[in-house]
Symmetry: C2
Subunit: 560 residues, 2 copies
């Protein structure tokens, strides 16, 4: 018999059954798989106190077919909708209604694996263009039918749930087109359903695809990049892996056009304006609760990938790594595009995942006084005009050295960069054996960072046998974000919910933002009133009531 | 008899009479004066078709005393207000009521010179602290008394007018204090009435004044700097001369606290957050129409003045200068803090003002094909960490050379920098001889810049004998601003208003923003509905109605 360490679980590497729950819950490409590395699996086994026997029998895989479920929308309303978009752009099949109303939160996945059908819409509609949206919103406003919007489906905050049924508009089917590209202004206007890769490729190949003089980048790369939509970035206040230079999604938006029950409007395209509170700001992050985004104009940047320079450093402690990160962010020499700091636990896992533990680097680190359990990894990439990149890299190195950082070349960063969008695939493999991976994230000022980190870790670790990895990955002069990944075995949904809520509670109580870039959805909604205070929530409700007097737009979203 | 060119008008260089209209209208320091240079006066005489006789008799100087004017607020209400702030912090003297309700718009000045008392408040109140503001807003909400806020008094958009009388709160008297400084987060929290110089000096001398490790800068220097308030920057969406690097006022705000008729709230301090539409954004630019700003937390930056590097270039045309400005802004090498491009007319005036016309530089320029009437000046200053500054300067020079720019050293820029806050003093001197100087400004995308410039110039020049100088001074990757200065002789107020309105009309019709950084006030208010559209105005009105149901906060401001 093989030794435990060598046993490799039978990972499920076949495409999900057609029309199954699994085909809905599975991350990304139906034919793509990524299993935990031997090193990562070893970490998990150790930390979660598992043995090989835990990897013999699979948990519910969700490979059973979705059964039909009744709907409550009237035949007359369905007929009206069909009249607007045509028979081919409407579906009342339960499979579709489930598919387009479930995101990628751990709880979504757990329910789907168990074959649960909950909070789905009555009908899925694929509008062809803005005019369809106008007609649908008018109809639904008159008939008081809830309206929800599906972009890329990567919500991890129950943003797509339809607790009152109604219509889900899928914008990625048809409303995914280029509207216009303006090379002089360096802006692009697209329909909101365009996905990240289509958007970025069009810009990268702008000379060929847009008859442009130069190539461009959108500078926005959330981990969900491949399955996210441009509209989704904007309405959920997303943030990409290169945000430290390019800005968050909110910073990239020049203009937006919305269809609301009250009427339609498009904000004017200006680089800046002083004409009172800006609708372009007010609508960002509205998560479909005020109206439907039908076109968006974004900043683009000259694409200069040949200039990219990677760096990696090891620090003796989280404190020293964070100090370097703060000094870089406040250094007035320009920011690297990507900057990431892993805490000690994430660093240890990374060392094992990449097979570095026990090797030469590990030994050398030990010699340098950078010990397992306290050492922390920083990595990043500088982008831009060549001499700017050189300046940033030189100054980053200086700040790191000043904080006892040890340069590990750009190699680990390049390794991470290559696989940066494929990690979510691993979750399905682990889930198959009942191991949960979930994430919660927050933004925080420098001063409050370590207190938040300690408090949240304590709550996560209160559950025995849990991995809690944390990183900061979006940097600002005033602070950063903390992204908590927790891995544990917890088959009961009720238990998981209680656990997750205790973590959210701890984030809120310790002064972190309820979300840095995942948005609010229905997951954070119960905390919103306490978090913002009644007065601020009342202002959001007043805007909601004005634009959506019948309360049909994504009811329950944002806690409104 | 002396030749015309040598005649120097008898400029009025005595402090205004006590309690006179002039003491209200005069810019800045009562004892400070700046008269047009010989060169500038020559330009004005030529362009406006004036002779020495136009500089013999002064127009109305406004040196007469302000006479008492009745007020309508009830004795009971006055007594209530007095009970809140104390007798010493309240005034019903007409002089005070006029002083704190007039800004620095050309029309304000004209009316004051004519001794007009119009749209003033009933009572001036100097709240001591936030709690006073709470009590006053509560009283005024109950009694339906209008409430206005005075910060630095530098509004050029009738932002301080009180068409329905009521109370004016002067925040610069007492509510001008430091609340806290956080060096780790690089933020400072102040009361809104703190003036620019106090704020900046405190930061520049942070080691001495704030027990900080380093010195800081706020990075915000509007032309009104010396007489502007931090709160004013935020609620009017101001922009400083160094905005191309540091950002506009709106970009500097981390958190705000407001007292509204509906209640009070303070937005939470985060570097970023994804918890729905942000009150911190919604309140920016609200110009006192939603509530009273009582504290604001701003970003600060390490102060590195020794690294500053100046540059000046001459270009053969406005087109080539703007092309260089655009390429700098889109260059991905970091931005200079200050960047300014003067159009041909402003360049010619500058050459004469600085006595350069006809000199060696002028002749050399001619030799280079840079002729009067078409050549354009660009100047700027790079700031930040030393190697960043070097990179920016090197790349700026490269972009300028590529667009036929000729390097004129940093000298003219240093000259401008030295006098940058004193130019407004010249207006009073010229006004004394009936010569108007007014400014209107707009933001615009690169693509629309030249069309806007030509259209507005045509309308300005439709009035014969008018100087129209234009510059771009706030740069973004997507566009810039155009700042129009027009100088003419037009004694009749009604004629001036018609003229000014025709210029605003032309800005709006040509697709410029109604304002880049002057704000809306009551001057732009009549255009707001057309500019933003009914749907967007209705959203602003809905927020107003929610926070201020009795419509007491700065009535008529923003066009709400």
């Amino acid at each position: 018999m093989k030794k435990n360490a060598d046993l490799i679980p039978q990972w499920l590497e076949t495409a999900p059954q057609k029309d199954s729950f699994r085909s809905i819950l599975k991350w990304g490409d139906k034919q793509a798989f990524k299993n935990p590395s031997k090193g990562f699996l070893k970490v998990i086994k150790q930390a979660l106190n598992l043995t090989d026997t835990d990897f013999i029998t699979m948990d519910k895989t969700g490979n059973q077919a979705v059964k039909e479920s009744p709907l409550t929308l009237s035949r007359a309303n369905l007929a009206e909708l069909e009249k607007i978009v045509g028979k081919e752009n409407l579906s009342i099949a339960t499979y579709d209604r489930l598919k387009y109303t479930k995101g990628k939160a751990m709880e979504d996945i757990m329910r789907l694996r168990q074959g649960q059908i909950k909070d789905i819409c009555d009908v899925v509609v694929h509008p062809r263009h803005k005019q369809d949206v106008v007609s649908i919103v008018r109809l639904c406003h008159g008939q008081k039918i809830p309206v929800h919007v599906y972009g890329g489906g990567s919500s991890v905050t129950f943003g797509l749930d339809c607790p009152r049924g109604g219509v889900t508009l899928v914008l990625s089917t048809h409303m995914n087109k280029l509207i216009c590209f303006n090379e002089t202004n360096q802006t692009i206007t697209v329909e909101p359903g365009m996905t990240g890769p289509v958007y970025e490729e069009m810009l990268n190949y702008a000379p060929q695809k847009l008859s442009a003089k130069k190539a461009y980048t959108g500078g926005h790369f959330p981990q969900s990049f491949e399955f996210s939509s441009v509209g989704g970035w904007v309405v959920t206040l997303g943030s990409g892996q290169a945000s430290s230079l390019y800005g968050d999604a909110a910073d990239l938006v020049i203009s937006q056009e919305y269809i609301t029950p009250k009427g339609s409007f498009k904000t004017i395209e200006y680089p800046a304006t002083a004409t009172g509170p800006k609708l372009n700001d007010i609508m960002k992050g509205s998560e479909g609760c005020f109206g439907v985004l039908v076109s968006v104009t974004m900043k683009v940047f000259e694409y200069l990938p040949d200039n990219n320079r990677q760096f990696t450093f090891m620090f003796p402690s989280f404190e020293s790594a964070v100090a370097a990160g703060r000094q870089i962010s406040q250094g007035r020499f320009g920011m690297p595009a990507i900057l990431r700091i892993s805490d000690a636990e994430e660093t240890d896992v990374a060392m094992q995942m990449y097979g570095l533990e026990g090797g030469v680097i590990d030994k050398f680190m030990g010699f340098k006084g950078m010990k397992k359990g306290s050492r922390c990894l920083m990595m990043g990439q500088a982008e831009g005009e060549r001499s700017f990149v050189d300046t940033v890299l030189r100054q980053v190195k200086k700040k790191c050295r000043e904080n006892q950082g040890f340069y590990l070349t750009g190699y680990p960063m390049r390794k991470w960069y290559k696989g940066r969008f494929s990690d979510p695939y691993m979750r399905d493999a682990l889930n198959d054996y009942g191991i949960l991976i979930d994430t919660l994230e927050s933004s925080v000022t420098w001063e409050n960072l370590h207190a938040l980190h300690k408090t949240v870790r304590k709550v996560v670790k209160a559950n025995p046998h849990t991995i809690c990895m944390t990183h900061a990955s979006h940097f600002y002069a005033q602070g950063t974000n903390l992204y908590f990944i927790f891995i544990t075995k917890m088959p009961a949904l009720a238990e998981f919910r209680t656990y997750q809520q205790s973590i959210i509670d701890s984030i809120e109580a310790a002064g972190g933002s309820l979300s840095h870039h995942h948005g609010v959805g229905r997951m954070m909604a119960p905390w919103m009133e306490r978090h913002l205070g009644g007065e601020q929530m009342a202002v959001l409700r007043a805007i909601k009531t004005h634009l959506d007097p019948n309360g049909i737009m994504n009811p329950g979203g944002l806690g409104l």
